[in-house]
Symmetry: C2
Subunit: 357 residues, 2 copies
């Protein structure tokens, strides 16, 4: 961004906070979507979120590929799909589990998901849910689903699916929750657990095990002249001047795995250099490139049409489809290369030399 | 808490969110205080916090033992001490480092901390800071401190201290920041790095590596009768009925390391039982005990004097001093025992048996 120094300083922390955190959560959500296939994904995280972080996490989760959130306020404000199921306390405060299920089904006849693990999933919850599902059918309604929230989810989902199918309730969906993350869901998928809906909480909204994305915000130009910050840690030396980032696209229309950072007025970057390692460079002149930075505000006014969350989520999905599989795998993924243009490299090295003398 | 079910449900997520997150951060802060001795601790975390979680993290950090926060809004709202130092961008937008230091010192002659690592800590930042400190002395002011933000903090602090002392600037304090947490600070202390002020960011406000404290909120009584939730995971079986927690104090006035959970009307719990392991029990009748739960709201009104943050922080410190050292060490700490009373155990086991038949 460009602006008066005091303006740039005032929004620094806000911008970093929003971009660092919501990018972290959208990335986590996209990893979970990656393994969940076409399963329905619901954000269940607010109670364990880091304070009000849970509010923005709901938005970021949907951008990253989630379908809905149990956070009613985020759903209202960001036009997300609200979703949730009954609580254990609902069942506990009724005479017994069957009475609780009947009462819940009576108030939500077309949107009823029954939580079956309060007392015993296979001995009590599932038989009672099947009883209520049959009663609902007689009244012209259909039980929407059951939810598993403890125990061995793969085993219980298979047994529950079999019980439902034997009862002619093939249409009842199975939801699961309880400490889910992308690794647990991948394991459930590998075991062919017949789970249709995943409720993901703490790991999603906190990005666990990554507490933060370490984005920074540094001064690159002051009063028209390029500036730099040096550091004993070479990776913390900044890149001077106004810049643009160019992404290379291969002949299949996929990301090549190389982004080149150049000066803002460069439109043709034939070669990109490793930012720190001397003599390592990579020719990108035979590839199509596209600029990644675009103007969204000018003179304090929004100068583009902000997309809806749905459109942003679609864009996220489309771009991730352009990222080759080897960059998306969890174990030893390819590292996306980021290089700098010859002109940017020369400018940076000249500024470093000036400060060293 | 007691209330109508709908009331209890509505505040569930809010209560869990506040208690889980702020307890996590206050605990992290107290671990950092534990190793930092009487060093000054400042929360620098907002830009990397999980969304607005950074706002409440500033409050929790001070409760856990921090002295100040760089989050100006949290400082204003919670009456915390605001604190911060100059940014790299301040230096970069001046003609050179010395000009930047002079300008900063002129505007803050009695509260001036200079960031010395923008170009080269020992070759440029420290000599310039010493020059400015001497100029300030001539005008009757004193440089408050210098801040190190990269490189080998132990080495740079020792060298910087020596340079300051040689220049007769024994009063100038040394602040350090850059990816600090309790382990890094412990290492700096072990190396006798002469650092007076620690700015701690991401690890503090996110609780890294712990993303969340897994507190829960469960129905224990409904319409006057005790209720329970079972689970395949034995540790997720709830304890029924209104309860009180008693903490045992040993004859030195220290926590014994044993909390007994009993029914609310029990005032004398001679023996506490392991919640899950049969035949494990522990006699606490020869120890003094004190109840931990107290009424803070009644009928929607606050019925006690809410302490200030300073008082809460002092209470936190005093209570931690009552916790024996072996519970506070980082590696293989003692586990604080929590047991249940005979009456509570009987009630729980009876309810389990009822649901099993």
């Amino acid at each position: 961004m460009e602006g008066k120094l005091i303006e740039a300083q005032i929004i620094e922390t806000l911008l970093l906070n929003i971009l660092n955190f919501q990018t972290l959560i959208a990335t986590k959500a996209s990893r979970i979507r990656f393994v969940a296939g076409d399963g329905t994904l619901i954000d269940f995280g607010l109670r364990r979120a880091q304070g009000l972080g849970g509010y923005h996490a709901g938005r970021a989760a949907v951008i990253g590929g989630f379908d809905a959130t149990s956070n009613a306020r985020a759903a209202r404000d960001y036009h997300l799909r609200p979703s949730g199921t009954m609580a254990h306390s609902y069942i506990q405060c009724h005479e017994d589990e069957l009475a609780a299920f009947r009462s819940f089904a009576a108030t939500r006849p077309d949107d009823c998901v029954l939580l079956v693990d309060t007392y015993n999933t296979l001995e009590s919850g599932m038989p009672n849910a099947i009883t209520v599902a049959r009663e609902m059918e007689k009244n012209g309604h259909r039980l929407k689903g059951i939810r598993l929230d403890s125990g061995d989810l793969a085993y219980l989902a298979k047994r529950s699916r079999a019980m439902l199918d034997e009862a002619g309730l093939q249409y009842v969906r199975i939801a699961a929750s309880n400490q889910l993350d992308e690794y647990v869901i991948r394991s459930l998928k590998a075991q062919e657990a017949p789970i249709d809906v995943f409720g993901v909480g703490t790991s999603l909204v906190t990005g666990r095990p990554d507490a933060a994305l370490d984005g920074v915000y540094k001064l690159a130009q002051a009063d028209g002249r390029p500036v730099i910050k040096l550091s004993e840690n070479v990776s913390k030396i900044t890149l001077p001047e106004k810049k643009q980032v160019w992404r290379a696209i291969d002949d299949r229309g996929m990301f090549l795995g190389a982004d080149a950072v150049g000066l803002d007025d460069e439109t043709d970057i034939p070669v990109m250099h490793h930012p720190f390692v001397p003599h390592q460079s990579f020719a990108i002149d035979r590839y199509e490139t596209e600029p990644l930075l675009r103007m969204v505000m000018n003179g304090g006014r929004i100068v583009y049409d902000p997309p809806s969350i749905t459109e942003t989520a679609r864009y996220c999905r489309e771009r991730l489809e352009m990222l080759p599989a080897e960059y998306k795998r969890f174990d030893n993924p390819h590292i996306y290369k980021v290089g700098i243009s010859s002109r940017l490299k020369e400018l940076r090295d000249r500024l470093i030399a000036q400060h060293k003398k």
